[in-house]
Amino acid sequence: MTTKYTEDHEWVRQQGDEYVVGITDYAQEQLGEIVYVELPQANAAVTRGEEAAVVESVKAAGEVKSPLSGTVLAVNEALADQPQLVNDDPQGEGWFYRMQADDTAPLAELMDADGYRKFLDSLA
């Protein structure tokens, strides 16, 4: 079970032949208290690098870009009533959606945990 990271602070984790997508701890920290998450519809097509979800905090709205192209299988319904799950557990209970990937080759271009940590250091 590997997790990969984008420079836009999304994470994508392989789970069997599916991929789970969410935003990183850094992203939720930057956004502040999250009050609303707009998720894609199940069966919707998502495109790598394009907006798939929107996360709204008390400060601002931020877009979540899909790390892979493919089809949404399911979304985290719990976020409708408890958007703060993204703050509390961004890489666990605060996941956004599960998807089937059209092409997994772009995963190789994403950062692993170590690479992402170095990337964050470079932002500081």
Binding site: E33, Y36, E38, E56, K59, A60, A61, P83
Partner: protein, 392 residues
């Protein structure tokens, strides 16, 4: 997400305190200002509503105005008031020493240049203007009043806002008995040995005070207020520093306008639902009707002779509806736009303000906002969203 604050920004006298309190600093109106502290916007907002919060608003402009003396002190004050009335549609001759008024600077088309507080301090008037416009406003006032008045943009002063139901209790602990001070009263007094100008006002919708004092003493007073609250284990005053993020959500809940967003050079007082700000004495039939910029446009609009008006808007879902979302009627026809919007921590759901055509301005009128291409239903609602708690 906010950009990091560049090094060229101005700093307020409380800058070191903000950093020490782990503030997230952002650029605002040319200043490096705290957006929030460690607690975060939501907690800071709720703390202000439930207890008390201390805001650094030293970035705002404080402009003193005094007519060149001729005759008695009362004559000078009247001259100052008359001079200011040539630019402001408020009854300033009728503003007694020790009182302040919310007012508007208007342009010749009837639009709003800025909103401000005007205090009669006896011997001089003090204008508190928005940070973004302070130099511009000063130059404008100087240009029009410079011949008759002495004006000064007081860079030497800081401004702190102490807001919340426990605000008076925080000051009482420093020996200030302010029970006889009502909403919009202004008083010069000493707090902990420091000379301050205190007004019972603010922009959170709560009871509270704005404290003007020498910039050199601001940090010392802020630390004293905060420390005193901390040291008392029995009385849970717990005054906290509050950032600009919560200042914005507090004022929006209170239905108060943010200049540059809800008020612009293209909105008139009547459109902004601020008729009350234009004093009776300055309206048609008043003792000193008109005689301020834009009056020929502004005064005929007062009996709701307008095409659009500012209203409160309550989104039905959980999605915040932020500016500049377009507003459409049931048929999909554009009827206005959102000018402020966000999440209300007190109510636990989103709130917005915006301008709509008059036919759609009645409470409970349904419409939709266009948010990221989707239609979000909302309804007109009465302002404020959260009842104000001013000390009358």
């Amino acid at each position: 997400m906010s950009a990091p604050a560049p090094a060229t920004l101005l700093r307020t006298p409380l800058h070191a305190l903000h950093l020490q309190q782990r503030a997230k600093m952002v650029a605002f109106a040319g200043y490096e200002m705290p957006l929030h502290y460690a607690a975060g916007i939501l907690a800071e907002h709720l703390h202000t509503r439930r207890c008390a919060g201390l805001f650094d608003v030293s970035h705002m402009g404080q402009i003193s105005v005094r007519a060149h003396p001729r005759g008695s002190a009362a004559d000078t004050d009247n001259d100052t008031a008359r001079a200011l009335e040539s630019l402001i549609g408020a009854d300033l001759l009728g503003l007694p020493h020790g009182r302040q008024k919310y007012a508007l600077l208007t342009n010749s088309q009837g639009g709003i240049r800025d909103d401000l507080m005007i205090q009669n301090l006896g011997g001089r008037f003090m204008l508190v203007v928005n940070a973004a416009h302070k130099q511009q406003n000063f130059d404008y006032l100087q240009h029009h009043l410079g011949d008759t008045c002495q004006l000064e943009l007081r860079h030497d002063l800081a401004l702190l806002a102490l807001q919340g139901p426990r605000a008076a209790a925080v000051l009482a602990r420093l020996g200030c008995d302010l029970a006889d001070m009502k909403f919009m009263d202004v008083r010069e007094l000493e707090i902990d040995g420091l000379t301050c100008t205190l007004s019972r006002s603010g922009y959170s919708g709560e009871d509270g005070f704005e404290i003007s004092l020498a910039a050199a003493h601001a940090e010392s007073l802020a630390r004293r207020l905060l420390a005193d609250a901390d040291s008392d284990a029995q009385v849970q005053l717990q005054l906290q520093l509050i950032g600009l993020g919560a200042r914005d959500s507090l004022r929006l809940e209170a239905g108060l306008c943010l200049c540059g967003q809800d008020l612009t050079a293209a909105t008139t007082p009547s459109e902004a639902a601020l008729n009350w700000v234009i004093s009776a004495a300055r309206r048609h039939g008043g003792e000193r009707a008109g005689g301020f910029p834009g009056a020929p446009v502004i005064l005929p609009q007062i009996p709701r002779n307008i095409a659009r008006v500012r209203v409160g808007l309550l989104p039905h879902g959980r999605a915040p509806v932020r500016p500049p979302a377009a507003l459409l009627d049931a048929a999909g026809k554009p009827i206005g736009a959102v000018t402020s919007g966000g999440f209300s921590p007190t109510l636990g759901h989103p709130i917005s303000m915006g301008y709509v055509q008059l036919a759609h301005a009645a409470p409970a009128t349904e419409m939709v906002a266009v948010v990221r291409g989707k239609h979000v239903p909302l309804a007109v609602t009465k302002l404020p969203f959260v009842a104000t708690q001013f000390f009358h």
